[in-house]
């Protein structure tokens, strides 16, 4: 800015903090902050104490405001303690239990998010993680309860089964895209419904239904097929290790392998990829196989770790939250891990918030939705915080360099 003084309309250079905040990571952070602030209004309005006080708002406005403040602070305190740390617990194991819950909830979200993110990098919008999770769950559960094997064979076999189950479901969409050009958004949505009714039907059959039960639940998976727990009193299990390894594998695949290079090329400009000699159809098939497999692993976390049996609601909407997680993580594997942990924390903390303060857990859904809304509109966030425009990569331009 050597010439700045000679310019009539002098502009002060933005501070380093403001520049950083207007970048991708900064916008994400500010989106979360804004969502929490707006969420606070919903908490206050939904609190009966606040509603009572507001009936005489014009007589004693302070009552309303103080009731609102108390309700927001209590709710967010409960949310936070439910996510991370319980200060009132008697032992360290109990105090850290909320963190264990957060990670337990986060595990399938991370794996599902990786599935959506990987497909997204190849230019495909995988709405089908839900169905792929269900298929992974079916395969893992069947292998888990049907066989009796030593754990070092049984567990890997069940996990592999989950991957294959998901890969088949994702692969169908990839195959249809590659061979017929059928749009993956349509096919994966349809495959979700097929999967939902497939698991419901299977759970009426003797092969899957738990003996003596009428409700749709399978026999429990054998101990030898379960993800080992990390601390006995906690629910968190080795599935999180699979999730972290999967994130590392996806990061490696995208940045270091020729296959990932082709995925990214096809995703960024399929015409140029084809002109450079890449087989675009084959990439669509392969990426959907792998993406489906990753979602299948999310199913394994549910069946072999958290629920320990197959139920009709095994996917619990994880496949749809995974889309949000992938968006929040900007289709970057480690971003997905962070976003998965945040959403897992919101799920776990939301439960605690509801039991501790009576704030409906739906507030968490509102906060999640708001985060995505703000992330999708960076100019909105920038204008609220009066941040400078940066040349930072837009959301769709997530491709990275070699070391990236």
């Amino acid at each position: 800015m050597t010439d700045a003084t000679t310019v009539t309309q002098e502009q002060k250079p933005p501070s380093r903090v403001r520049t950083a905040l207007s970048g991708t990571a900064g916008i994400t952070f500010l989106s979360i902050v804004m969502a929490l602030i707006i969420g606070a209004f919903f908490i206050a309005f939904s609190d009966p104490a606040v509603q009572d006080a507001s009936s005489y708002f014009f007589a004693k406005p302070f009552d309303t405001l103080s009731a609102a403040w108390t309700s927001v602070v209590e709710a967010y305190k409960a949310l936070l303690t439910g996510m991370l740390f319980n200060p009132d617990a008697s032992s360290l194991v109990d105090a850290l239990k909320p963190l264990s819950e957060t990670i337990t909830m986060a595990t399938p979200l991370i794996l599902g998010g990786l599935s959506v993110a990987l497909a997204f990098r190849a230019g495909l919008f995988n709405i089908g993680a839900e169905g792929q999770i269900i298929l992974g769950s079916i395969f893992a559960a069947y292998i888990g309860f049907q066989f009796s094997l030593p754990w070092f064979i049984h567990l890997p076999l069940a996990v592999l089964g989950a991957f294959i189950g998901g890969a088949i479901w994702g692969g169908i969409a990839g195959f249809l895209k590659a061979k017929t050009g059928a749009h993956e958004v349509i096919t994966t949505i349809m495959l979700n419904w097929i999967a939902i009714y497939l698991v419901a039907w299977l759970l009426t059959k003797p092969a899957f239904l738990r003996e003596g039960r009428q409700d749709p639940i399978s026999p429990p998976v054998a101990d030898s097929a379960e993800y080992p727990s990390i601390v006995d009193q906690w629910r968190v299990h080795a599935g999180i290790i699979v999730a972290i390894l999967a994130a590392a594998a996806v990061a490696w695949l995208l940045d270091k392998s020729t296959l990932g290079f082709q995925f990214r090329a096809v995703g960024a400009n399929a015409n140029a990829a084809r002109t450079a000699g890449m087989n675009v159809s084959r990439m669509y098939l392969l990426v959907m196989l792998i993406a489906g497999g990753l979602a299948g692993l999310a199913g394994s976390a549910q069946v072999l770790g958290t629920e320990k049996s197959l139920t009709g609601g095994i996917s619990a909407g994880i496949g749809f939250d995974a889309i949000t997680v992938a968006l929040l993580g900007r289709a970057n594997p480690w971003g997905v891990v962070a976003a998965g942990l945040l959403f897992g924390g919101l799920r776990a903390g939301g439960l605690n918030m509801q039991t501790a303060t009576g704030t409906p857990i739906d507030i968490v859904l509102v906060i999640q939705a708001l985060i995505v809304l703000f992330i999708a509109a960076p100019p909105l966030v920038r204008s609220v915080f009066r941040l400078p425009e940066t040349g930072g990569a837009g959301f769709m331009q997530t491709a990275k360099g070699w070391n990236g």
Partner: protein, 500 residues
């Protein structure tokens, strides 16, 4: 109408796209703004048109100072602009496009008749020959451009800014446009004509203002020689003729016999082509765009998605039916016509784009794992060798100028031993300095013994490079002639007229 700019400076952060530019356009004058891509011509005109606000400086229209906050203000003041990329709604008629944003109404209804008659009035007054009821999507590019000009004239533009208007036109359409510009001038419209093409600037302009790196570096009359103008533009002496030693063609490398192709609806696109390109020879394919040249390149590289019959051989090996991968690996290099669409991945780094078709081969990867150290080193070498001006090898290729993007494509294709080079529009939208460089590299491929096929709609380029010229017309080769053929004769061939 008189337009005057005084000391316009436009900065983006620390970067000054325009610095202290002063310019006067007198009533009824055509002023050409000449400069390389990225010199700041378009930025300056966007300032004049109100799309950008100047950091400092003043704009006067008819000696009244104006302060434009948006294009609406500029239009009100009588400034019209035809952008390089048209701002038209393809499924709308000409009249609908012209009235868009300034709709005439009769009560609650659109008054299309008023718009029609306005289009007719302007079209006749300036001899533009545009039918108000034609759908824009059905019109050739040259006519679409005239619709843009009508849009400006209907709103009483006294100053018309044409941003690279000839970039999308065929030679004939370009001549027509130059004629229209003269008509407009005769009726008192002032024109700012932005271009980097010397021939057109000389043909059209009363005065030439040269811009380099955001500053006015000089003014020239249209009588200045091309070499003088190019020198001012680039800032050093440029040679406009390609130095080409006499050819020494060897064995035929690329042989095409009885090649026909039809598109997916079965319409014939290529008709019974027979030609060969020998080692150490450049065959230029001339023709008006849309006569099958694009498809010929796609067929040669295995990219064409229709039915192909006949035979293409490279060193005796059949190429039809092979995948693009196999053809590229067999020693064919391909520079596609549209580098943004087919040649490069904008969001990828320069490095990544430099190995886009070679990443899977040794030494750039092994066992499916990329060797980033080898790739980075090779990229640095190529950036150096091809003089790619970039902030760094890791910068996204989208941050490069058109000429440098083309160098990336060319560097990638020439980075391996080629038997055949197929280059489609190798210097389209590229600045003079880069054209010189790219032409030299193409000739050096020939000297190395490759068979080179150049497809270009720029006759200058065809003449400068070719050892032989094949002219395409309606999917067929209507004649193969030498580079000493006159432009008139060539024009007739391109229009489908043969001697016999």
């Amino acid at each position: 109408m008189k337009l005057e700019l005084r000391n316009i400076t436009k900065k983006f952060g620390d970067f000054a796209a325009n610095e202290d530019i002063s310019l006067i356009v007198n009533p009824g004058e055509i002023v050409a703004l000449l400069g390389e891509n990225g010199a700041g011509k378009s930025t300056l005109m966007n300032v004049v048109y109100g799309l950008l606000q100047p950091t400092s400086g003043e704009i006067f229209v008819n000696d009244v100072q104006e302060d434009f906050e948006g294009p609406g203000d500029a239009m009100t003041a009588g400034i019209g602009m035809v952008h390089q990329h048209f701002m038209l709604v393809p499924p709308f008629t000409v009249a609908e496009n012209v009235m868009l944003g300034h709709e005439h109404t009769k009560g609650a209804f659109l008054d299309l008749d008023a718009a029609r008659s306005e289009v007719r009035r302007v079209s006749e007054a300036y001899n533009l020959q545009v039918d108000p009821d034609a759908l824009v999507e059905d019109l050739p590019v040259g006519v679409q451009q005239r619709v843009e000009i009508i849009k400006a004239l209907v709103r009483d533009a006294g100053v018309l800014i044409l941003d690279e208007p000839t970039a999308v036109l065929t030679p004939q359409e370009t001549d027509e446009l130059l004629g229209i510009m003269r008509d407009l001038k005769a009726k008192g419209t002032s024109i700012v004509f932005i271009s980097h093409k010397l021939r057109e600037v000389q043909a059209a302009a009363d005065r030439i203002v040269v811009i380099r790196r955001g500053r006015v570096v000089g003014e020239a009359s249209p009588e200045a020689t091309k070499a003088e103008l190019a020198g001012m533009m680039v800032g050093r002496e440029v040679s406009l003729t390609v130095e080409k030693p006499p050819g020494n063609p060897g064995e035929p490398v690329l042989q095409v016999s009885d090649l026909s192709a039809a598109d997916l609806e079965g319409r014939p696109i290529l008709r019974d082509l027979n030609f060969e390109v020998r080692a150490g020879e450049i065959l230029g394919v001339a023709g008006v765009q849309g006569n099958g040249q694009t498809e010929l390149a796609e067929v040669l590289t295995g990219l064409y998605e229709g039915e192909v019959t006949g035979s293409i051989t490279m060193d005796g090996k059949e190429l039809t039916g092979r995948t693009p991968r196999e053809i590229l690996d067999g020693g064919l290099g391909y520079v596609p016509e549209d580098r943004e669409h087919d040649g490069l991945i904008s969001s990828f780094t320069v490095t990544e784009n430099l190995v886009l078709d070679q990443f899977g081969n040794a030494p750039y990867s092994s066992g499916g794992v990329l060797k980033s150290a080898v790739i980075d080193k090779r990229a640095d070498e190529l950036i150096e060798e091809f003089d790619v001006r970039t902030q760094g090898a890791a910068a996204p290729v989208s941050s490069l100028s058109g000429g440098n993007k083309q160098k990336v494509v060319m560097a990638r294709e020439m980075s391996r031993e080629l038997r055949v080079l197929v280059a489609s529009q190798p210097t389209r939208g590229v600045d003079v300095g880069s054209i010189e460089f790219l032409h030299k590299r193409i000739v050096s491929e020939r000297e190395r013994g490759a068979a080179v096929l150049i497809i270009s709609s720029e006759l200058d380029e065809i003449y400068a490079l070719s050892d032989r010229i094949a002219v395409m017309y309606r999917g067929a080769i209507i004649g193969v002639v030498g580079p000493d053929t006159s432009r008139d004769e060539m024009g007739l061939l391109m229009a489908g007229v043969t001697n016999d």
